[in-house]
């Protein structure tokens, strides 16, 4: 009985407020409490989603946005991990690169947009590059921090048990740094979507951002809302996936 009650509170309760907001929103638009010209009813947004899906534009734009986000994340996150890893384990590497990376980190990456357009144009590479820049720094910082804060006592224990450098890395350094690295992954997934939205809003002829900008020109408020909701859902989905990865790989923390 107590377990069922706990299940209700953990699974159902967090959804009560969003559902209540949607219901209130629907009623407010239908009773003309809110002007539907600026705030369309949730049912109208769902109808628009079905219409766009049937026309094939919705899935096409979602696919291209996902492609840009994924590729940018792989490049940016991969390089961030590589530089963070070596900065964490090699004093020479850290001395060579860390100051420069920390300096670049303080440049708002949106400030790079004019330069990116000038150098890379407005094709796919520009958008992927901007997402990569946005995801690089959170993963770099967290990987570097995670690796360099692995307990010296555990490392000494590993050395005293005659572990090779590779064993030290796989058995102690990487697992010890993993919670911090995964925190960086979650944070960079957030910056991934922000970078993508900006990239697609500034210069694109496809993608969710383009769909939204295009709808603004045609005063189609329903599509603008639909795009905002899709961004929110994709953001939530990626965060959920990162959280599942944390649950699977850090199950020892729950013990």
């Amino acid at each position: 009985m107590k377990k069922a009650k706990t299940n209700f509170w953990t699974k159902v309760y967090p959804w009560i407020l969003p559902v209540a907001i949607i219901v209130f929103w629907q009623i407010a638009v239908q009773t003309k409490l809110i002007n539907s010209q600026y705030v369309p009813a949730p049912s109208a947004i769902v109808a628009q989603a079905i219409k766009s899906w049937q026309a094939g534009t919705l899935q096409k734009n979602i696919s291209i946005s996902l492609y840009r986000a994924t590729l940018g994340f792989i490049w940016g996150g991969g390089l961030g991990f590589f530089f963070g890893l070596f900065s964490g384990i090699s004093a020479l590497f850290r001395a060579t690169f860390d100051s420069t990376i920390q300096m670049l980190r303080n440049i708002p990456h949106m400030a790079l947009i004019p330069l990116i357009i000038l150098v890379l144009g407005i094709d796919e590479s520009a958008k992927i590059f901007l997402v990569a820049v946005g995801t690089f720094f959170p993963i770099y910082i967290n990987t570097y921090h995670g690796i360099s804060s692995v307990s010296e006592d555990l490392l000494e224990m590993g050395r005293s048990y005659d572990l090779t450098n590779w064993q030290l890395f796989t058995k102690i350094i990487f697992p010890g740094a993993l919670p911090t690295i995964l925190m960086g992954v979650r944070y960079s997934l957030g910056t991934m979507w922000v970078s993508l939205i900006v990239a697609e809003t500034v210069s694109a002829d496809s993608g969710i951002g383009y769909m939204s900008t295009n709808a603004q020109q045609f005063m189609n408020v329903k599509i603008i809302y639909l795009c905002i909701i899709i961004y929110a859902l994709l953001g939530k989905l990626s965060d959920f996936m990162a959280k599942q990865l944390e649950i699977i790989s850090l199950d020892w923390q729950k013990a």
Binding site: D153, E156, R159, S160, D162, Q167, P175, W252, A255
Partner: protein, 238 residues
Amino acid sequence: MNLVEVKQVSKAYGKNTILDTVDLNIQKGSFIALVGMSGGGKSTLMRMIAGLEEATSGVIVFNGHKVRGLNKEARIMFQDDRLLPWMTVMENLTFANKSPEKLAKAKELLELTDLTEHYDKYPTALSGGQRQRVALARALMSEPKLLLLDEPLGALDALTRQKMQDLILDICQKQAITTVLVTHDIAEAVRMADKIYVIKDQGISGRFDNPNYTGSADEQRLQRDHTEQKVLDVIYGI
């Protein structure tokens, strides 16, 4: 026959001399204790025997060979258990080598340390005493010639501590493992060791042979108390 010979060993960190021309012989199969005040150099001496630190001068000979770098035939058990929290008990024992022989050895040690039912648990799910038993089992995995105990029981409650002392003594005696115990607890040293060395004033200030006490329980307790008092007198310079 000596397993370890510490010859004229000194250790200094910058201008701060911790140990000055120390000589110490540890016989094969013996159980010795190093006692003394904090910062006196007990753990430093042990770490040099383990090869985790280098002597500033002098030599340490282990089983006929000069210790250079890690002493692979010695295993150290630290004050904090230093178990890997992301590995289960079994994985903590076999993390360096997962061969079938090592798995069998790990099972045997888990049985010996009464941990068989906990083999798949993570360290955070174990009590302090259980964690130290895992650390002991891990130290014994490679069948070391020398077991170095760096105040491993310091954080345990009195009852668990006594049980651990009995377990360590039992294993070391049965397997004839030469053991060095570093401890603040004089009673623990008297209870466990054959010989007690007082580390003080950068060297060894006293050595006590600890006989097998005879007579009734009360008489044995009195004899132990007497030895403890003699050790304390040297530590406090009385």
